[in-house]
């Protein structure tokens, strides 16, 4: 059993690593087919399974919070309700039927009502299962039963009969792939008007924090910190339109200086000198900083990272690095 639990994965990692390392150097069709099978099919399915694991873990975390009634479990309930709504709108294809007044993303009234009944029924059922004894528990149970029946009948019987779709059958019909994610579907409506603003706003908060940090925390306490701040300020000004307007040495002066230098060293003056030289402004200084010293340091770091990447790959293949196996026996 120890062989299956600890040794076999190491052997698999080594064999897989060596096969795909050697595959790079073998140009035969069989080698290309092997790569295609692994990357185009197997790996993509494995990533999907890893995602399912992630979702199940997230649901389990919030479900545990709700069942144990930990602090803030109401928020977890909201998260799971919203998750359920998104699943209903996207996993089960919602056919566009009654429009909310125009050529806009639509919601089906019948489906919305049935979905809400189902959700209320599920919440009441959870509450019933978690609750204590007595009258309130009984009434929650009855509420759950009523709404679940209403929702199920509405979603799986009445709505399909009214619109010609039988929901359960259509779920597995491949003709529906993409319909949930069409521009005029309920799913895309939620994406455009709920998910996009939330995601965008979460990240835009950082603008305020970075401004606050710039004022309150960024201090030139040493020579290196001063270099960092000067470089940062030059790039900040250089990479906005203002940077082009802050001219340090105009083009005409640069052209005359360079022409004088070329005369001094007896070199010919290029005829297109006036077009090749430009104003020395903050933008050009920022550009030089990015192309030269920044590029140099980033390249030095990059070379180190690549070497460590190779080292870690070798450690994984030879079984020295086993963190991917997780804990336990």
């Amino acid at each position: 059993m120890q062989f299956l639990k600890r040794r076999l994965p190491v052997i698999i990692a080594f064999c897989a690593g060596m096969v795909f390392w050697v595959q790079y150097y073998v140009p035969s069709q069989a080698s290309q087919d092997l790569l295609e099978t692994f990357t185009a099919s197997w790996a993509i399915i494995l990533f999907g399974a890893a995602f399912i694991l992630g979702v199940l873990s997230a649901i389990e975390h919030h479900w545990t919070k709700i069942t144990l009634k930990k602090a803030g479990y109401g928020y977890s309930l909201v998260a799971l309700l919203v998750f359920g709504t998104m699943i209903l709108s996207g996993w089960f294809p919602a056919q566009p039927s009654i429009r909310l007044g125009g050529a806009a993303p639509t919601l089906s009234w019948g489906m919305l009502a049935a979905t809400l009944c189902l959700l209320i029924g599920i919440v009441s059922a959870v509450s019933y299962l978690l609750g204590g004894n007595g009258e309130r528990r009984y009434s929650r149970g009855m509420t759950a039963l009523v709404f679940l029946i209403l929702g199920a009948v509405g979603a799986f019987v009445i709505q399909p009969l009214a619109s010609g779709y039988m929901l359960l059958w259509k779920v597995s019909n491949p003709a529906f792939i993409g319909q949930t994610i069409k521009p005029d579907s309920m799913f895309m409506w939620f994406f455009d008007h709920c998910f996009v603003p939330l995601d965008s706003t979460m990240f835009s908060l950082l603008a305020f924090y970075i401004a606050s940090a710039a004022f309150r925390a960024f201090r030139a306490r040493s020579f290196e910190a001063t270099a960092l701040l000067i470089s940062g300020c030059l790039v900040m000004i250089g990479r906005v339109p203002l940077g082009e307007q802050l001219i340090l040495i105009p083009k005409g002066v640069l052209v005359s200086w360079y022409t004088a230098y070329l005369h001094l060293v007896n070199l010919p003056v290029p005829p297109d000198l006036a077009t090749t030289l430009a104003d020395l402004n903050i933008t050009s200084i920022a550009g030089w900083i990015l192309n030269s010293p920044n590029s140099a340091a980033q390249r030095g770091i990059l070379l180190g990272v690549i070497l460590s990447q190779v080292a870690i790959s070798l450690r994984i293949m030879f079984g020295i690095e086993r963190t991917y196996m997780g804990g336990g026996e």
Partner: protein
């Protein structure tokens, strides 16, 4: 503007302000918005993964093979990655979690092996070649190339911890630190730009779509 769009923009604006409320201090409205976001994110990802990955890659070849594949037994080869995928999902069952190690070993080992030749030939060697390229043409390009070469060398010396950073090595390392600080400063400058851009995007929505479009009924 259709009523569905109007309701959508109002909901988007309300959700935006719910998140912005965190700027004053942490509060229940923000927490609610945060958990709504979480629900939408996971639900959306689930649907996308299912319809773009799980169904076409795993379920469709077996259950709905299509006219070209119907008699082709090769399509059953997807059962192998499906079984490996089930092993991954079984990680949530403590007694069976060990099965997932084989699946992780396969794809982590496989991609580790793939990474070595690809990264060395695709990234490492071209970067080295570019670093030790001849100086020039022209003094401006030559100066830039020299600074690049000096910077790369000094940065690598700084991160080389097998030698004690004293004497010449220490001085070269200090020059490397200077280059690194300039690079981090440039990164900081650009990071500020990135964050401000995201805020500008949100304000553009609030001003153009919400205030002008919905409240003032102006044309876009």
């Amino acid at each position: 503007m259709a009523i569905g769009e109007v309701i959508g923009i109002w909901i988007a604006a309300i959700l935006t302000f719910m998140i912005f409320s965190f700027l004053y201090k942490d509060n229940p409205v923000f927490k609610l918005g945060e958990h709504i976001f979480l629900g939408f994110a996971v639900g959306y990802s689930w649907c996308i993964y299912y319809w773009n990955d799980i169904f076409p890659q795993a379920i469709q070849p077996l259950a709905y093979p299509g006219p070209g594949l119907a008699g082709n037994w090769h399509r059953f080869s997807v059962l192998i990655p499906i079984i490996l995928g089930i092993f991954i999902i079984l990680r949530i069952v403590p007694s069976l979690a060990w099965l997932s190690r084989n699946s992780f070993a396969l794809y982590i080992g496989g991609f580790a092996g793939m990474a070595v030749p690809n990264v060395i030939s695709g990234v490492f060697l071209p970067q080295l070649t570019s670093t030790i390229a001849p100086l020039g043409p022209g003094w401006a390009a030559g100066l830039t190339q020299f600074v690049l070469l000096l910077g790369v060398f000094c940065t690598i010396v700084f991160f080389f911890f097998s030698l004690e950073h004293t004497g010449v090595v220490g001085k070269v390392g200090r020059i490397g630190v200077l280059f690194i600080m300039v690079a981090f400063g440039a990164s900081f400058g650009y990071t500020v730009m990135a964050r401000i851009s995201l805020l500008i995007g949100r304000f553009q929505f609030l001003i153009n779509d919400w205030v002008k479009g919905v409240i003032l009924h102006q044309a876009p």
